[in-house]
């Protein structure tokens, strides 16, 4: 397996030197994105299956009632988990989340949380009782760029999510009282540096070949950033990446919201 990764790395680096990508895309071109909103709508209050090229990631929303955090007694709670299911790659194993899945979950979480996309104040029910929103990201087929695929799936699932009906201290299963209150559409945009080029939306092979990775999640502001990989970026590269993330974020946002 590791030998495969080395060979892929060489192959990708040579391609990029020639200005090419293995699937013929431009360096600043995303793979095709297909959204299947409400994929599990019979059970999950919100859900979306996203295909990003051959990468397939599902996000499902669960909503429960619970206690607020003690330092934010009037805000709802959100929690994001990612599972790199073993079905998605010959390299994933069953077991508790590893550092890769934790990073994916935390970067997606920050993009949503920091943008204020969920109106947490509206998730207050009564003293010591708030709505708790679980975002579960299920990686089904890993062909690269899990953060963007998962981030798009998560915000799409939130946008189509309904709030359960709540009566007399209990949730009425399968009945809903309206939409989950959303106020924005944060979109993560991930770029990798290979040699001295910046490529957007890396495939799995390009991830083998990358020196470093940079994710930038935007709404009308930057809300989250994460550098990954053993390489480094200079200032110009970072600033160009910010501009790119704004531009691509806008396109993808339009696709998600259908506006």
């Amino acid at each position: 397996m590791e030998i495969e990764a080395y060979l892929k790395k060489d192959y990708i680096k040579n391609l990029v030197k020639e200005g090419k990508r293995e699937d013929g895309r431009a360096f600043d071109e995303y793979r095709k994105i297909i959204l299947d909103n409400g994929y599990a709508k019979e059970k999950a209050p919100g859900s979306c299956m996203v295909q990003l090229g051959k990468t397939k990631v599902m996000a499902g929303i669960s909503i429960d009632i619970g206690e607020p955090y003690s330092d934010r007694p009037e805000d709802g709670v959100m929690s994001t988990s990612t599972e790199l299911r073993p079905i998605a790659s010959p390299k994933f194993e069953s077991g508790p989340p590893n550092e890769e899945s934790i990073e994916v979950a935390r970067v997606i979480d920050r993009g949503i949380r920091e943008s204020g996309a969920i109106d947490m104040k509206k998730l207050f029910i009564e003293e010591d009782l708030v709505w708790v929103v679980f975002i579960d990201i299920h990686v089904m087929d890993h062909s690269g760029n899990l953060i963007d695929a998962g981030g798009i799936a998560a915000i799409s699932a939130l946008l189509n999510a309904r709030l359960p009906k709540y009566e007399d201290g209990k949730i009425i299963c399968g009945e809903y009282s309206g939409k989950l209150p959303l106020t924005g559409t944060p979109v993560p945009c991930t770029m990798v540096k290979i040699n001295d080029s910046i490529l957007i939306d890396p495939s799995i092979d390009e991830e083998y070949g990358m020196d470093a990775r940079l994710t930038i999640s935007t709404t009308d502001t930057i809300n989250a950033m994460q550098k990954g990989g053993n390489g480094s970026f200079n200032e110009k590269e970072v600033m160009d990446a910010v501009d790119m993330a704004y531009a691509k974020g806008k396109e993808i946002r339009r696709m998600i919201t259908g506006d």
Binding site: E42, I87, D136, S143
Partner: protein
């Protein structure tokens, strides 16, 4: 099973809650080759159940002391996604999932030609994305499609279907409400060509004669599922023809 001692009406006239007759299956859709990375895969929509199965292997088994020099090991991981059920399921295997994984692996092991691949492992991952009773039958049905899709030699497919008892009536393929408020659930899986049972679990209350009736009804259900499986593989023939060990009468 609640023992059925309650007031939920599950049968009216000769119809069930969703309008089905006693021997009628829910709508089923099947598809193979739905994933890129897995070596074989299948998708099944069975009523409101939505299940994706992926297969890897035969591949080397680690750690080495688990290797069997006479045959491959077949492992199965049955997993309910947290959002697949009404109340969020905490990630990770619970005791129910571990048991289902075990009986599914045993059922599939009865048809896969494991002796051809000594020292290796075949991994079957069953991902339930929406659950509405009968997920192990749906998963097992899709799993044998995914194994065929991976080109792994099998003696036959495994076809699965449940029967049960609802308001005193033996019926096939229980949906969620029937499972929750019925008197018995009998999930089964068979090797269709031999008509032998490879998965059989039961809980509830059945007399000997009721069991016999339910058993036959489940086998009939399995045979209907088997026809759909064959048609699905036939539909993916372009891809499938010529692969060693495909389902021989899949045409």
């Amino acid at each position: 099973m609640s023992g059925g001692d309650n007031d939920v009406v599950l049968i009216k006239g000769n119809k069930r809650l969703d309008g089905r007759g006693f021997d009628e299956l829910r709508d089923i859709k099947m598809e193979v080759s739905v994933l890129e990375r897995a070596e074989g895969s299948a998708y099944i929509e069975w009523g409101k159940n939505r299940v994706i199965v992926g297969v890897y292997g035969p591949r080397e088994l680690h750690p080495k002391f688990l290797q069997d020099p006479t045959r491959a090991m077949l492992r199965c991981v049955y997993n309910l996604a947290p959002f697949s059920v009404d109340e969020r399921k905490k990630p990770g295997p619970d005791r129910r999932s571990v048991e289902i994984s075990k009986v599914c692996a045993e059922a599939l092991s009865s048809v896969v030609m494991l002796e051809r691949f000594p020292n290796t492992v075949i991994d079957v991952y069953v991902e339930v994305l929406q659950a509405d009773a009968g997920t192990r039958c749906a998963g097992l049905t899709a799993a044998s499609l995914a194994l065929a899709d991976a080109g792994i030699p099998m003696k036959d497919l495994v076809a699965a279907c449940s029967a049960g008892k609802v308001q005193g009536q033996i019926v096939v393929d229980l949906m969620k409400e029937e499972d929750n408020f019925g008197q018995c659930d009998l999930p089964m899986a068979i090797i269709p060509r031999k008509s032998e049972v490879v998965l059989l679990q039961m809980d509830g209350k059945l007399s000997r004669d009721e069991f016999k009736q339910a058993y036959k009804m489940a086998v009939d259900g399995c045979m209907k599922v088997y026809e759909m499986q064959k048609n699905t593989l036939l539909g993916s023939m372009n891809k499938f023809v010529g692969v060693e060990g495909g389902v021989e009468n899949g045409d």
